[in-house]
Amino acid sequence: MNNFRAALWAEGLKARRSLVPWLAALGMTMTPLVGGLFMIILQNPERAKSMGLISAKAQLTVGVADWPAYFGLLAQAMAVGGALIFALMTAWLFGREFSDHTVKELLALPTPRSAIVGAKFLVLALWVAGLTALIFGLGLVVGAAVKLPGWSVALGWRSVVDVVGTALLALALMSPVALLASLGRGYLAPLGWAILTLAMAQILVVMGWGAWFPWSVPALFSGAVGPRALLVDWYSYAVVALASLAGLAGTFAWWSRADQTR
């Protein structure tokens, strides 16, 4: 336990001192702000046009300016943005040890390698949790500021489930990203993987196989495509869990056993 605490402290310090987690989080916080802008455009299309803002895109993206639409936008952004921004953070957490050649300082230690890998995953989870809370909280502030109609406490709780559930599903799919950052010893392989799976997810949703493809599930869960009950089944969660467990097991095994020549 002390070993794990030491590893967690070290990973926490590295994350706090680096610009990457902060910039990635900043990128993600654009979601509620941009969503709020869309709401303003939808509420006052003529005024928006006079200010040079194009309302067609906002209308296509959201439809109406109310709380359900705004929360829907946040959940969708969490599915798509999460896939990329969470992957960026994961690629940094694992890949930086190879890019900075610091991995060799983490291998022959009294602190087991599994504690270091576990601490990295926990820092990722805490970062995602903090970011999700920030986005949801900022969303509440922005929504209230632009005076969106249609608020209810029940809607608020449902939206918490949507946003947090989408974030959890996206987070679960980060373990294969961590594995690829380790196998590829850097950033390129995991980021390439994130882009590939995002594209594949869209294609497979269009083809009607999204519920079976783990990387489509967060977007289906978020309601981006349609009602969740019609699109997501138990096996959708099962394939996400399987992909997640495979990534976790692979990452731990790789750090424990693979030759480290950098």
Binding site: L13, K14, L109, R257
Partner: protein
């Protein structure tokens, strides 16, 4: 005597390439073992195998009586290391980098960080980000990290890389003190042979993955060739006088002076001088020369090639 490092039939292959070939090492506690070889000879691969960073294709490794095995198993609380170029987290300060190492090495005493900062002269840079350190100071940081937990065994890959001459002397003296006063075993690889020659109590020469020779201090002295360089104003007359007196003139050196390799000539240059004076060609120069490790190494590598 306790064995600090022991390998039995250590091999590492990458496909068809044999990086380390059946290396049997035995380093006793308190020794300073110099591990020398050309670039790509297998030094770093051997050190990585000793540290469990790569899995041997065959053979086994024991450090301080404990096996080094899969999943990072090994006596790491008692081992310090510096492998190739020392790396540090560039966004962390020198102190924070050492603090990370202190915690991961499970050193309870927070004063350990200050102690190594002082010992390696890093105090002026303690609050500076590691990413902006000079090569020499990064090397000091790497050494500070290796010694932070006061290990019994130090595995150092090119420890004086990037240090200025004063830094080289400082590290040499530090390593000598650690070995002589605290009984720390030091296994260091280097291609700076003069440095190894000064420091090591035993030397292993690795070439093309194979440990081709091991020398202790006595061996080093014994195996070093010695010869007598003789010069005179009339070189042909001097050579003739030496031959008449029973010396075998081996040839000339780069400057054209005669070279004698016979042990009795090397052991008694004054007798050579007497012969030359009596022959009317007194010597202008008499000099006993000796191989250093570098020449011995090059000759050995040449013979292997």
């Amino acid at each position: 005597m306790t064995i600090a490092i022991e390998t039995q039939g250590l091999c590492k292959r990458y496909g068809d390439v044999v990086a380390v070939d059946t290396v049997n090492l035995r380093v006793d506690a308190g020794e300073i073992y110099g591990f020398v070889g050309l670039n790509g000879a297998g030094k770093t691969t051997t050190i990585r195998a000793l540290l469990g960073m790569i899995r041997p294709s065959a053979g086994r490794v024991m450090l301080l009586g404990e096996p080094v095995g899969p999943r990072g198993r090994g006596p790491w609380r008692r081992v310090g290391h510096l492998v190739e170029q020392p790396a540090a987290y560039p966004e962390l300060t020198v102190r924070e980098n050492l603090e990370v190492a202190r915690r991961l090495h499970a050193v309870a005493n927070p004063g350990a960080t200050d102690r190594v900062i002082d010992r390696f002269g890093l105090a002026p840079y303690a609050g500076r980000r590691a990413g902006v350190l000079s090569t020499g100071n990064r090397q000091r940081l790497g050494l500070a990290r290796a010694l932070l937990h006061e290990p019994e065994l130090l595995l150092l890959d090119e420890p004086t890389n990037g240090l200025d001459p004063a830094g080289v002397v400082e590290i040499r003296e530090l390593l000598q003190t650690l070995a002589s006063e605290r009984g720390v075993t030091i296994f260091m690889s280097s291609h700076v042979l003069a440095e190894v020659d000064r420091l090591a109590t035993r030397i292993g020469i690795i070439h093309q993955g194979r440990l081709i020779e091991e020398l202790d201090t006595v061996d080093i002295e014994r195996r070093r060739a010695r010869w007598l360089v003789v010069d005179a104003r009339d070189r042909p007359a001097a050579a003739a006088a030496l031959v008449v007196a029973g010396y075998a003139v081996s040839g000339t050196n780069a400057e054209g002076a005669w070279v004698l390799h016979q042990p009795h000539a090397v052991a008694a240059p004054e007798e050579v001088a007497r012969v030359l004076v009596l022959a009317g060609t007194p010597p202008t120069r008499l000099l006993v020369e000796q191989d250093d490790l570098e020449q011995h190494f090059l000759r050995l590598i040449g013979a292997q090639a």
